[in-house]
């Protein structure tokens, strides 16, 4: 049995063999589409979106007017920005229930610092953004350093920020007319301009720019890759040398910053500063909905910002389309529930067939 000792000699001489290539023969258009979808899963929500638009356009021709479409973009402006914040956190395998509350509180801070303390609007805005970042950082520190599950941390801070918002503002609304007269900078993102025959606000442009920037950051910088790694398998990421805690805190803080921007955009959209804006209560669920419909996994590490953006658009299109089709409020509410499930079901189905 002398071969026992030297059976490995066979492989001691290196031969670099060619690996068999098993390229798929892409049979037809249908097949090509499938394999395309499989490689770029972000396309799936896009298709859902296009189909929804076509259907609603058939039901009500007004839907396809450029002004309607611009309106949809305006309506998803805030949810979209909150969705960016939420995406960052969800990619780290967390969840941020406090995004809406942070946005409302920062908008109140911006308003009150201008009107109660008489600071220039620009300074108040900077303070508001800083406050948002700090609130986010608090979430991050509690998650990363105290090891409290993100759901609990942000459930708690959601209540804390929201209550602070009501207490601090004494529930007072700052009126649109006053802001327009004394601190127009607060309403900056509400400025409208003409584009292809429709009025578009700067908020829409901002949303698209922010989505593009964050898509770049997550895909093309080391920090972005670390966010994915931390969400994918925190232990492996740490063993591989990613500073897990620092990345977590930064992600939450950046999310807080985006909430601050959302707060500023809210003033532009509603004209006034109102502590009882429903974003404070519903913003988190709306943002999470956009994130999940957009294909970001709540388990972390998978999905893209662009997907989230499409997710927000899908919800916006459904809401507007149903309203225009004449469904009443309660039925709209019901049908949106059905459509959310259907959108994701189609997505899952396409992925399964194509794989």
């Amino acid at each position: 049995m002398s071969n026992a000792e030297n059976f490995e000699d066979v492989v001691k001489s290196r031969r670099d063999e060619k690996v068999a290539e098993f390229d798929l023969i892409e049979k037809n258009v249908f097949h090509r589409l499938h394999s395309l979808l499989h490689r770029t899963p972000a396309l799936v929500p896009l298709i859902v979106l296009v189909v929804a638009c076509v259907v609603f356009g058939l039901i009500n021709a007004n839907f396809w007017r450029i002004s309607t479409l611009s309106l949809i973009f305006q309506q998803i402006g805030i949810v979209g920005i909150l969705g960016i914040a939420q995406s960052l956190v969800v990619l780290t395998a967390g969840i941020d229930l406090s995004v809406g509350a942070m946005a409302v509180l920062t908008s109140v801070i911006m308003g009150q610092f201008t009107f109660r303390y008489g600071l220039p609007a620009e300074v108040a805005i900077a303070i508001g953004l800083a406050a948002g970042t700090m609130m986010g950082a608090i979430n991050g520190v509690l998650v990363a350093r105290m090891r409290i599950p993100p759901f609990i941390v942000t459930l708690g801070t959601w209540q804390v920020f929201l209550a602070t918002n009501y207490i601090y503002s004494a529930n007072e609304t700052i009126r649109s007319q006053d802001i327009e007269a004394n601190a127009p900078a607060l309403q900056f993102w509400g400025t409208a301009f003409n584009f292809a025959g429709a009025r578009v606000t700067l908020a829409v442009v901002l949303l698209i720019v922010l989505v593009a920037i964050m898509a770049y950051v997550l895909r093309h910088t080391a920090w972005g890759r670390h966010v994915y790694a931390v969400g994918d398998d925190p232990e492996a990421a740490e063993l591989a040398g990613v500073p897990r805690k620092r990345v977590l805190i930064q992600a939450y803080a950046l999310a807080g910053f985006f909430c601050g921007i959302a707060g500023w955009v809210m003033i532009g959209r509603f004209g006034s500063v109102s502590p009882s804006a429903s974003t404070g209560i519903l913003g988190n669920i709306q943002a999470i909905t956009a994130v999940v419909i957009g294909g970001i996994s709540l388990l972390g590490g998978r999905g893209t910002i662009v997907g989230m953006f499409l997710g927000a658009l899908i919800v916006g299109v459904f809401e507007m389309g149903l309203r225009m089709a004449g469904a009443d409020a309660q039925w709209t509410y019901l049908l949106i529930g059905v459509l959310i499930i259907a959108a994701v079901a189609i997505d899952q189905w396409i992925r399964k067939v194509s794989s």
Binding site: T68, L71, Q75, Y166, S176, Q177, F270, I281, R323, A329
Partner: protein, 310 residues
């Protein structure tokens, strides 16, 4: 004091009024509030806490007028004076006394005013109804149905909004009673029919939001917005022409009356009396507008500003 929520300025002011009065009379006051509109559960828990804590009386703005009744009965059995503020219970005699505005009347006033302002054009008006919430809490229904009654539209089931068949109604949408919801609801209804020229809103923040939506398409001048509440920002909006008319209510008055009644009850067991001819103490409602019309009594914005809250 148990209010529906404490995010709506109306109830915040009510609480502030009660606190001021309580301080004046040297009474201990604890306040509770539901978490969302229509939150009956939290109110039940609050009543139970009051009983357990040995309170003398409860001021209650009920979220659910009939669902709260068994708890109110328990409190009364335990010897507490229960006063319903703002919203009467169902049946109304479930509470020891009710200090309320008539929300239906408030709606009716703005409805009549709107119809009269439009004159002949009322016959082919296009109306947007901006309501509170899909769960249709009672204020929501009362104000909405009051408006339609005042405007001269057949109500269908008066306990429910949204079942009217009159073609003048473009649609109902919900606002959560804030600017955010107001704007979005207005946009949605405008997308359905851009010709809307009358907007009913559940309260003034929703009206302000609706105004922003109209402004965005440059129609703010030719649409009539009516609302209910009479808070100071709302009255200021009437002055600025944002809102055509609003029905003013008086939460501070309700609260301070309520506190006085409980103080009297605690001192010598006297229960308060109802207004003449009504089963409750009416704290009143007044239409605030600078464009009075014939046949609808109203007060000027100047007067409204003096009486406003918040």
């Amino acid at each position: 004091l148990i209010t529906k929520t404490d995010t709506n300025p109306f109830f915040v002011k009510m609480r502030e009024g009660a606190e001021a009065k309580a301080k004046e009379l040297g009474i201990g006051l604890k306040s509770y509030a539901g978490k969302v509109d229509g939150d009956n559960e939290t109110q039940v828990a609050a009543i139970e806490t009051c009983i357990a804590d040995g309170a003398k009386g409860i001021l209650l703005t009920a979220s659910s007028t009939s669902a709260i009744v068994p708890s109110v009965q328990k409190a009364r059995e335990a010897g507490l004076l229960v006063i319903a503020l703002d919203t009467p219970l169902e049946p109304i005699e479930s509470a020891d006394m009710t200090f309320a505005t008539d929300n239906f009347l408030a709606g009716e006033l703005i409805g009549k005013w709107a119809a009269a302002s439009l004159g002949d054009k009322a016959a082919d008006a296009k109306i947007a109804m901006l309501d509170l919430d899909v769960s249709q809490p009672s204020v929501d229904v009362l104000r909405d149905q009051g408006f339609l009654q005042g405007f001269g539209i057949d109500l269908g089931d008066p306990n429910k909004w949204g079942d009217e068949t009159d073609p003048r109604i473009v649609g109902n949408d919900v606002t959560q009673g804030n600017e955010e919801g107001g704007r979005k609801a207005m946009e949605n209804l405008l997308a359905r029919d851009p010709e809307i020229n009358v907007v009913y809103t559940i309260n003034e923040p929703a009206a302000a939001g609706a105004y922003e939506a109209l402004k965005a398409i440059g129609r703010e001048k030719d649409v009539l917005i009516v609302s209910v509440d009479g808070g100071c920002p709302g009255v200021a909006n009437v002055a600025d022409g944002v809102i055509g008319a609003t029905s003013q209510q008086y939460p501070l008055l309700m609260a301070s009356k309520g506190i006085e009644a409980i103080a009297a009850w605690a001192k010598d067991g006297v229960k308060p009396q109802a207004s003449e001819g009504k089963s409750f103490f009416d704290t009143g409602v007044a239409l605030v507008t600078d464009k009075p019309v014939d046949g609808v009594e109203s007060i000027s914005v100047e007067d409204g500003r003096k009486l406003c809250w918040g």
